[in-house]
């Protein structure tokens, strides 16, 4: 259960409200304390204010970048790459996962390939992609795709393995065609697992994207922003970028996927072993 689902649930009684506000307040307190100590330490000169600019200065820089429109470009470009790569990973990962889970040829073709390439860190592909595709969005999108696809394939395969063969029997005894079995049985059947795959995959993909943007983005993207700032040693931008990466990472993994979960798994009352 994500924090988001707790928010969506109807408020029944006062203790619920208290528990909810506590669950929000606790992490804020711990993060806030760190920032506060940092702020005081930087201002008092206990730490190097160039290497560790106070959070207030980081916030001011971010605000300026936002006003200039630059920041939105960086964020927008990163999200565009992430979402495009993720969409490809979900579509192809699901199809490959189903082929592995349901067919002998799928297992024969894809299983060895996946076992061989899964341990390769996604970033190791970047130099190859740079040569093949060039410095452009396509390279970073493919990196996102690779980072997420393995996780999606893996969870889809275990989703199919977790489905009772009797579900297929019931559908076939009703005369279901292959297409009908795909749309009405397999897809909804693997959905709880697929969502887990998307959750984990999007986390990996986000990290890989930021790194790839440092290596292979010609312009824009949060990773590029940080990399570019390090050339000019603007520490505020670097820290601001890190902060935004953390925030967006959290939102993508928990809030967006949490919505998906609430619309499917939680509605159906299905449990998925993680």
């Amino acid at each position: 259960m994500s924090a988001d689902a707790t928010i969506l649930a109807p408020v029944r009684s006062r203790p619920d409200i208290r528990r909810l506000s506590l669950s929000i307040a606790r992490p804020l307190i711990s993060i806030g304390t760190v920032f506060l100590v940092w702020e005081v330490a930087a201002r008092a000169g206990w730490i190097n204010a160039f290497l560790f600019p106070p959070p207030s200065a980081i916030a001011a820089t971010l605000w300026q970048e936002l006003l200039s429109g630059e920041l939105l470009q960086h964020i927008g470009r990163s999200l565009y790459r992430l979402l495009t790569g993720m969409a490809l990973a979900v579509v192809f990962g699901t199809l490959i996962g189903i082929a592995i889970g349901m067919t002998a040829w799928g297992r024969a073709i894809f299983k060895p390939l996946i076992s061989a390439f899964m341990p390769v860190p996604t970033l190791a592909w970047t130099p190859v992609l740079l040569l093949l595709v060039g410095i452009n969005d396509r390279t970073t999108i493919i990196v996102v795709f690779i980072a997420a696809a393995f996780e999606v394939i893996y969870t889809v395969v275990s989703g199919i393995e977790g489905m009772s063969v009797r579900l297929f029997w019931v559908a076939r005894s009703m005369g279901a065609s292959r297409q009908q079995i795909f749309w009405k049985i397999i897809l909804p059947g693997i959905m709880p697992y697929l969502i887990t795959g998307i959750r984990l995959g999007s986390g990996y993909a986000w990290r890989a994207l930021i790194a790839a943007e440092m290596l292979a983005a010609s312009s824009y993207g949060l990773g590029f922003m940080i990399f570019d700032a390090s050339e000019y040693m603007t520490m505020e931008v670097i820290y601001g970028g890190i902060l935004l990466i953390a925030i967006f990472g959290y939102v993508i993994e928990n809030v967006i996927v949490g919505r998906l979960e609430a619309a499917t798994v939680e509605k159906w009352g299905v449990q998925v072993a993680r």
């Binding site: 579900l167 005894s173 009703m174 009908q180 909804p188 059947g189 009352g269």
Partner: protein, 273 residues
Amino acid sequence: MLANLATTPFPRMANAKPKIVADKVRMSFGRVNAIEDVTCTIGEQEFVSIIGPSGCGKSTFLYLIAGFEKSSGGTISVNGTTVTRPGPDRGVVFQEFVLFPWRTVLRNITLGLEIQKVPRREAEERARKWIRLTGLSGFEDAYPATLSGGMKQRVAIARALTYEPEVLLLDEPFGALDVQTKNYMIRDLQNLWIEANKTIVMVTHSVEEAVLMADRVLVFGARPSSIVADVRIDLPHPRTVDDRRLREYQAEVTAVLSAEVDRSMSLERAHPA
């Protein structure tokens, strides 16, 4: 619906057209020899009940008729055609219900019609009848995870009945029901059978259920099983439990069955699986 049906013809008889023919059917799973040699003919519109010790291969036999699995030997034919795969002419109610967790009660029940491309409105109309008869009214929009075992079983029964297969294969369809609900369902299933002229094969553990509902009771022996008794229940439908002749049939079947259960238990002890 047909509770006021005063009398009905005598049990549909042996001279009926054969619907399901099993010829020397064998089935083994690796080293486990589940079914040794089952040969029988089930007539058109006959209601046949299968009873036997636990683990003797009753469900397996039903799955073979349904075409889910391939037998290790022998043939089964339905309507004169050898069974090679499942088909919408044979509806199955599983011992473990097998509902689709992502579909509501209503959508589980209309699935068969949906697959056959029946328009949604009509499908829901036809489902309503069985939702009402199985006492599921008010639960149409519930998801299976929120239902009790008995309710799940009723959804499974309604789902198989709604798309109207010619042959109904029921694997202990009342196992999870309380006595009261079970009695209702037994009555409705009997009425359905009388009205709709279905061929029904029902696996059960209850001799009383078997003799009350079926034209014939097939007793399966201990594993590796074959049919050790084929008892025709020569009484008109609908029957009542307090009929003296029904009691006699019940005693007869029980005697054969107990002998087989004893044999099965001693075999198990001698050669634990």
